[in-house]
């Protein structure tokens, strides 16, 4: 009889990520397509509208419209990377492929499974934003070395969106429910001060926007890209960390109810 070392948590989480890598190795074009989407928006709105819009004041610094939109779209690309895998695909794996039922008969725990799926989203988010960052730097839209920190920030965005996505998906009953998700993702994408400063909103809308995770990611990426980062921005990091933790734990509890019955 082979004596087997017990799988470590790190190995366990990694194996769940690997499952996604095996899948996307074959369907890599889906990864590429997902990356291109924010780029389309950049070309259409960021550069298309720049000739009609004058410089924008960000924390007392005047910048061109394209430079204003770029960091917002980097954050959105992290959203895009995490949103589909943690909602639509997660639902498919949970209810149709039933691979999580199979996974939990192995040494993997529910926590390993959730963290593995979130880790994959984080990986995908950082891949997208790194590629985007390279492009943005090449075109001169990143004005500060602080810009490098956009990569860890997009990891936080990926984590937060994935945790919220998995949590919400545990409530989904039919595919039609995903229409609400489509609307929610569109709301996050356009509403999170991606294309204009949050100051254009009246006070009450600002409050709502500040409750959503992507807004904080956009604000952080913008400060980092423009080098206007300040101590104030720490609260954005706090907001992302809180979203990650609360929804991550919640998602785990919901899945325990669903899978361990």
């Amino acid at each position: 009889m082979m004596t087997q070392a017990l799988v470590t948590n790190r190995q366990a989480v990694r194996s769940v990520v690997e499952r996604n890598i095996i899948f996307f190795k074959r369907d890599w074009i889906i990864l590429v397509a997902g990356f291109l989407e924010p780029l389309f928006w950049l070309i259409a709105i960021g550069t298309g509208l720049s000739s009609f819009i004058g410089d924008i004041d960000v924390d007392g610094k005047l910048i061109g419209y394209t430079a204003f939109v770029v960091p917002g779209l980097i954050a959105s690309s992290a959203l895009n990377a995490a949103a589909f895998d943690s909602t639509f695909n997660f639902f498919y794996k949970l209810h149709y492929l039933k691979i999580y039922d199979a996974m939990i008969t192995t040494p993997l725990s529910i926590t390993n499974v959730v963290l593995g799926e979130v880790a994959w989203s984080v990986l995908r988010s950082t891949m997208y934003s790194s590629a985007f960052l390279v492009l943005a730097t090449a075109f001169g839209f990143i004005e500060s070395w602080w810009g490098l920190l956009i990569i860890p920030v997009s990891a936080l965005i990926g984590f937060a969106i994935s945790a919220v996505g998995i949590f919400s998906t545990t409530f989904v009953r039919t595919w039609n429910d995903f229409d609400y998700f489509g609307l929610a993702i569109q709301l996050l994408f356009i509403g999170s001060a991606t294309f204009y400063p949050i100051t254009v909103y009246p006070e009450w809308v600002r409050w709502i926007v500040q409750l959503t995770p992507l807004y904080h990611g956009v604000a952080l990426c913008r400060s980092l890209a423009l080098g206007t980062i300040a101590v104030d921005d720490l609260w954005h990091i706090g907001a992302l960390l809180a979203t990650m933790t609360i929804f991550g734990l919640w998602a785990r509890a919901r899945l325990e109810d669903k899978l361990l019955h």
Partner: protein
Amino acid sequence: MSIVLSGFLNPVFTMLTLGWGVGSLVDDPAALGTEDYVHFVGPGVLAGSAMLQGGFYSLWQALGALRWEGMYKNAVRTPASYIDVLTGRLVWGFLRLTFSSFAFLVVLLLVIGWSGWAALLAPFVAGLTGMATASPILAYSSAQENDKAFPIISRLIVTPLFVFSGTFTPVDSMPDFIAGIVKAFPGYHGIELARDLLNERAALGPSLGHLAVLLVWIVGGWILARAGFRKALTS
């Protein structure tokens, strides 16, 4: 519910936030050729979102109706032929989109004010734009056994067309090769026509030109889609 969420709330929200947010940043709306940015983006989203929905109507929804659910297969056992089913699908899609576009139009007119009787034609233009996109995609998707390539069509064809066809930005302000490509597709013509109608500047000649492009795409797609429908429903 789907029609309310993706057919009404989604475009209304897009129009309001961009019209309001981006609109407040635009210094020189005259350069856009409209009174202000909402006058520009409102009609853009009206026809653009119809185009987007038309695309989805011919992807998973169409494959579902043709292959996964039994409704169409049952229909061809009645005197209705597969061609009737194809025509019926496009007509139904047109009616649905026109209907939800009217709802959108009400909100738009509340924002920009009454802009003449011609505005009431815009939802029909949106319905046609949706079907001018749906029809050729249907020619492709009806010939498919599975949805493997659909995410690619959706993300690399339908979405870029939505973004680049002048929905949010004048097509001519984009790189030349992009502008050249999108002008061949129906979305651009639908959006231009809707924009003219809602800005009280629709001239007969150019309007008929745009309309002709839409109809060519619809009929062309219809002709090509017949083969896929025959294969899926009669074999």
